[in-house]
Symmetry: C4
Subunit: 175 residues, 4 copies
Amino acid sequence: MAQSYKELLNNVKGFIFDVDGVLTNGMVTIYPGGELVRQMNIKDGYALKTAIDAGFPVCIISGGSNIGVRSRLEGLGIKDIYLGVHDKIEKYHEILELHNLKPEEIVYMGDDIPDYPVMELVGIPCAPQDAVPEIKAVSKYVSPIKGGEGCVRDIIEQVLRVQEKWNGKFYAKFD
Amino acid sequence: MAQSYKELLNNVKGFIFDVDGVLTNGMVTIYPGGELVRQMNIKDGYALKTAIDAGFPVCIISGGSNIGVRSRLEGLGIKDIYLGVHDKIEKYHEILELHNLKPEEIVYMGDDIPDYPVMELVGIPCAPQDAVPEIKAVSKYVSPIKGGEGCVRDIIEQVLRVQEKWNGKFYAKFD
Amino acid sequence: MAQSYKELLNNVKGFIFDVDGVLTNGMVTIYPGGELVRQMNIKDGYALKTAIDAGFPVCIISGGSNIGVRSRLEGLGIKDIYLGVHDKIEKYHEILELHNLKPEEIVYMGDDIPDYPVMELVGIPCAPQDAVPEIKAVSKYVSPIKGGEGCVRDIIEQVLRVQEKWNGKFYAKFD
Amino acid sequence: MAQSYKELLNNVKGFIFDVDGVLTNGMVTIYPGGELVRQMNIKDGYALKTAIDAGFPVCIISGGSNIGVRSRLEGLGIKDIYLGVHDKIEKYHEILELHNLKPEEIVYMGDDIPDYPVMELVGIPCAPQDAVPEIKAVSKYVSPIKGGEGCVRDIIEQVLRVQEKWNGKFYAKFD
């Protein structure tokens, strides 16, 4: 691909994130009833909210299903939350159609084999530092930051900075 | 500024702390109902209590709101707990007036963009080691310790040591 | 032993895992009623499910007992879950008989002294990076990964790759 | 002191441990009602149980108070659990009398200022790697392991090995 990394980021019009290992560190706390409880990062939350406020569709696709996770993500203003998804490719195509987006306009960040098929299709596949080797190999950008520790903030902030949509007045001072 | 770092600390008469990423490591556990549960550090708690016992106003300003956090901080003796705050600058000015303090007498420790506007105004802006770059750039002191791992203890202990208010009899032995 | 490590893995027909320090990082959260709550890793979960789908008996033997852990492991499709086990050797022999397996066909991963007696008997004793020295000394493979951080994924993935049962189409691309 | 470290350990007849920052990593999870929930390490638990089985008095003194912590420690067979203690020195003298022990026969592991007065009195004061500087300075042994990560196991195992009471048959093989 002849395009530079910065040019790629300039094309981005939407984000799709996996949950476990991306928005979380991949650990689940096992409640007495077997329910799986996750941890997320406030710094990621700030970036997700900023992207939505800047008008980007932000979508979540996860094989897991959890009412708490949905509630947290809705609280950040995310509307496209698809949990318990078995066919991530089908959902990906729905998202493209729903938001009238092209593959090269999409950042998808995933960390494990179930993300692989979608990441072959999407324009800008990304991964946290601790993704499995297969996922890192197929990614155009591997964050230096691990899942749950701010890798989502990292890629959102980079896209919004390139497009001059990151925190208005702060942008000029730091970039 | 011609003043040395030690002189700055000698001027301190009050502390203001952010919660997420400062008193916590920035992670939130997402309960089934979507409630966000935090973790704090007992070593920070000891320092907060010591500062209050030494007569310092210790104030908490957080954009988040959580009944458990309030209960924990009240248990340490903190009275000025402002949660769910959208305009941190307004609250900052209220604190100055309430405690009759000047900006150069205040330590404020924050870690992310929402802390930035206040940190431009306060006399001694500080940050944990893992604050975002913008916040570290505006800080007069960046702790070598991460959020939730004792950065609050670090700055409180430094101020109280300079002012010879840290643990009476132990002070002489270790400093 | 004249066999190479790869030959050993080729012989594997079943897996046995300890829970604390192997499927978890060895920490337990102490609930108000004294109940112990564990954390597990989604990447390990993916590997456990893949091994079961590939037809391997996957067995869990733990001295601890916890209804949430059982529920989580059952959700991954594991049927042989033995919790609250005081005599791991007896249970090990039952598993051999139940699944008609020989010692040299078994991977057992443990991390602490209670695993030692079984690990002397099993064909391929393994350990996470942070197992106690006695266990590492008796192991034929010590994962570079700590308990709860993916050591279970590591050994399962290695066995399935050697036997060409790891993720079908992905296998060809990455190994 | 002319005695070697190994001689000191040979004298040990009882253990006293602080909770926060020693049996835990110093973090507390803040429940919605403000209750503080701790995490402990299964490897420490194994060592505590082994020490008790070998006949050592094992005592817990903590300024904090928590019903879950009590339940967990009782489950390991610990009988001397003193929580919510404000005067650790008074409790220390009670323990000496109750078990007919002399100061030089006691290991005490603590991590922060409230442990300091007792650690000046006890024969073998110890600390985890991440104790505060004052505590490390007064300690005869600083474990290379952090609080909650196995520092309790470290000191118990060392004492029991020197006294040839660590895991009978395994002892011969590994030491």
